[in-house]
């Protein structure tokens, strides 16, 4: 504050400072309240959020087939597994793997033939393809990660299993993802 010849004498310094502190504190609140909208505007806008959740009709996906759906800008594998694929997955439920998980924990009860995964390799983000690879599941060509028929990482550099999105069955052949 003023330290020159304009300094007043005989004033209670606490009283003199309070109004300045009050004004500056109000200012700080104002700045914070103003800053928030400018930060929040970078969050997803309403039209992006509208596509955060999609409903997919899966009646046409026959056993052994895989549907790839674009969801939140990423590919989602909707796979209708054959009994052989399910058996292979269940057999390895307690095998030694980097990211242990049972096959049942990766599907919905009563819908074990439907495996819905985010098709993005957990290593560095490439899209794996089905059919090649030692465990009958997915293989990522970028650095050689191998996933089994439950999407679990079995070989290669990827640290985690293929991710599961939030989904639920809204009907016998309709699934809502996200």
């Amino acid at each position: 504050m003023a330290e020159t010849a304009h300094e007043t004498h005989g004033e209670d310094p606490h009283r003199r400072d309070f109004i300045h502190i009050a004004a500056m504190a109000t200012g700080a609140v104002g700045v914070a309240a103003t800053a928030w909208p400018f930060i929040d505007q970078m969050n997803p806008s309403a039209d992006t959020l509208a596509l955060a959740s999609i409903e997919q009709d899966i009646s046409k996906v026959t056993p052994g087939q895989q549907l790839v759906v674009l969801w939140r800008g990423k590919p989602v594998f909707v796979r209708h597994r054959t009994p052989a694929e399910i058996a292979a997955a269940v057999k390895d439920d307690h095998a030694d793997m980097r990211d242990p998980a049972t096959d049942a924990s990766r599907t919905k009860p009563g819908k074990q033939e439907w495996l819905i995964l985010i098709g993005v390799c957990t290593h560095l983000g490439c899209v794996p393809s089905f059919g090649t690879g030692d465990y009958g599941g997915w293989f990522c060509p970028c650095h050689g990660s191998v996933y089994d028929t439950s999407g679990r990482i079995r070989k290669g550099p990827a640290p985690k299993n293929l991710e599961l999105p939030d989904y639920e069955f809204t009907g016998p052949t309709k699934v809502k993802i996200g």
Partner: protein, 444 residues
């Protein structure tokens, strides 16, 4: 007043930094301990207000640019996307659009202050010229910014103003058309024009910020002028900028923000034009093309004469008058507080400029004072808007080219106080100015 620095680094870090890059010293000398005349009134707060306006425009503009698409097929819809879907987009857009109007409101008050108190006179001519450059850059920025939403007014405003350059075909055949084609990037205002306007609209504010830096530097060499026009003679005439003027500017900025907020939240479209909510259509021209309000006086001058080239030259000359002002005004007295005759001419100048603004918003053939009716068409005839524009434009130019030069030679001025502090010292202190009617405290 540039004296030597009073900054004393207090911590080890401050000493270390001061030796390498004395930026804290610069901040201290510029904005904290800077000796400022103690008699600055509220007209002097608009510089600070303008700095805040520039920051508001840059921040809001930067953020809008994250969502806006500068393509003629998508621009209008991208603005609507901002208004509807982007979080708080409507608020940021309205801040930016109304912020431009507030920016010009503040700059016009700031210029008027300079005109009245003689802030452009020696030794502050460069300060004034830098201010004129900032004003030009502001006008260019605002013009290009208004084109970006790609509404009807955006499009036709661009068409009219870029077409002005084709007037130069009269001077050198072909050069005007070459210029407009180059500006457009095509044969008409179209996507190429929009894209380059977006790029330049993004760039210019940073150039404005640079010139503002020079402007403040040029101010700090001689120091602030003040309402008496009398130079600072001693420390007694000044107070340190902080806290005296930080708090006064802060208060003025808040009052300004109150007005700004009222527009943004309660009348956000009041300063705009309904036609700009219609997507641009090259095949249909709006009935009434008007620029934004802050360009209206120049628009009136442009339309005052029927000849296109003369109108263009007149409009540019009107702005050029500002650049010439320090050398046109011959008065030895700085502040119009002590120039009673000049004061009236100044007031009329303000009224004339406001009148020109009003004219700019009307159709040229509209009748201001009806005298009769045309027998054939039944339309009223009389003193038209164009005629009024000519009268007011004549005064505008006369003010700079005749009145101010002559006034300085022939006017009777009031006695000027000896120092800034003199007017507030009790009677019997330093010698008082003669003239019972002249009370320096009273504002013009």
């Amino acid at each position: 007043m540039s004296g030597h620095s009073t900054y004393e680094p207090k911590t080890a870090f401050e000493r270390w930094l001061d030796v390498r890059l004395p930026i804290l010293r610069m901040a201290h000398d510029t904005a904290i301990d800077f000796p400022t005349p103690k008699n600055l009134n509220y007209w002097y707060t608009f510089g600070g207000i303008l700095a805040v306006c520039l920051v508001i425009q840059i921040v809001s503009g930067l953020v809008l640019a994250m969502h806006y698409v500068a393509n003629s097929a998508l621009a209008f819809n991208s603005v609507e996307h901002i208004m509807r879907d982007v979080n708080h987009g409507w608020m940021i857009r309205y801040i930016h659009a109304n912020g431009a109007s507030m920016f010009f409101l503040a700059v016009y008050v700031h210029i008027a202050r300079g005109l009245y108190y003689g802030s452009y006179k020696a030794p502050r001519e460069i300060l004034w010229l830098l201010g004129c450059v900032i004003y030009l850059l502001m006008m260019a920025t605002a013009f290009m910014g208004y084109v970006l939403p790609w509404g009807q007014m955006s499009y036709y405003g661009a068409v009219v103003i870029t077409n002005l350059f084709s007037a130069f075909d009269r001077l050198i055949p072909g050069v005007g058309t070459a210029i407009t084609t180059w500006l457009w990037g095509g044969f008409a205002v179209d996507n190429a024009t929009l894209n380059r306007f977006f790029s330049l609209h993004y760039l210019l504010p940073f150039m404005i910020a640079g010139v503002v830096g020079l402007h403040i530097w040029a101010l700090h060499v001689p120091g602030n002028n003040n309402p008496t026009g009398v130079d600072v003679k001693s420390k007694e005439d000044t107070v340190p900028f902080h806290p005296y003027y930080t708090v006064k500017d802060g208060f003025a900025i808040l009052v300004f923000l109150l007005l700004f907020s009222w527009f943004v939240f309660f009348a956000p479209e009041a300063l705009g034009h309904a036609d700009n909510q219609v997507p641009a259509n090259p095949l249909v021209t709006p009935i009434h093309i008007v620029p934004e309000w802050y360009f209206l006086p120049f628009y009136a001058i442009l339309r005052a004469v029927p000849d296109k080239l003369v109108g263009v030259l007149l409009m540019f000359s009107a702005i050029a008058m500002l650049f010439l002002l320090p050398w046109l005004d011959t008065s030895k007295v700085r502040s119009m507080r002590y120039r009673p005759m000049a004061r009236w001419f100044f007031l009329i100048f303000i009224a004339a400029t406001l009148g020109l603004g009003w004219c700019g918003g009307k159709l040229p053939d509209d009748v201001v004072i009806a005298v009769g009716r045309d027998a054939a068409s039944g339309d009223p005839t009389g003193f038209t808007v164009v005629m009024l524009s000519r009268v007011l434009a004549a005064y505008y130019f006369a003010y700079f080219l005749l009145i101010l030069p002559l006034l300085g030679l022939f006017e009777k001025t009031l006695a000027i106080p000896e120092t800034i502090s003199t007017p507030v010292l009790p009677k019997g202190g330093a010698s008082m100015p003669s003239g019972a009617t002249a009370s320096p405290e009273k504002k013009g």
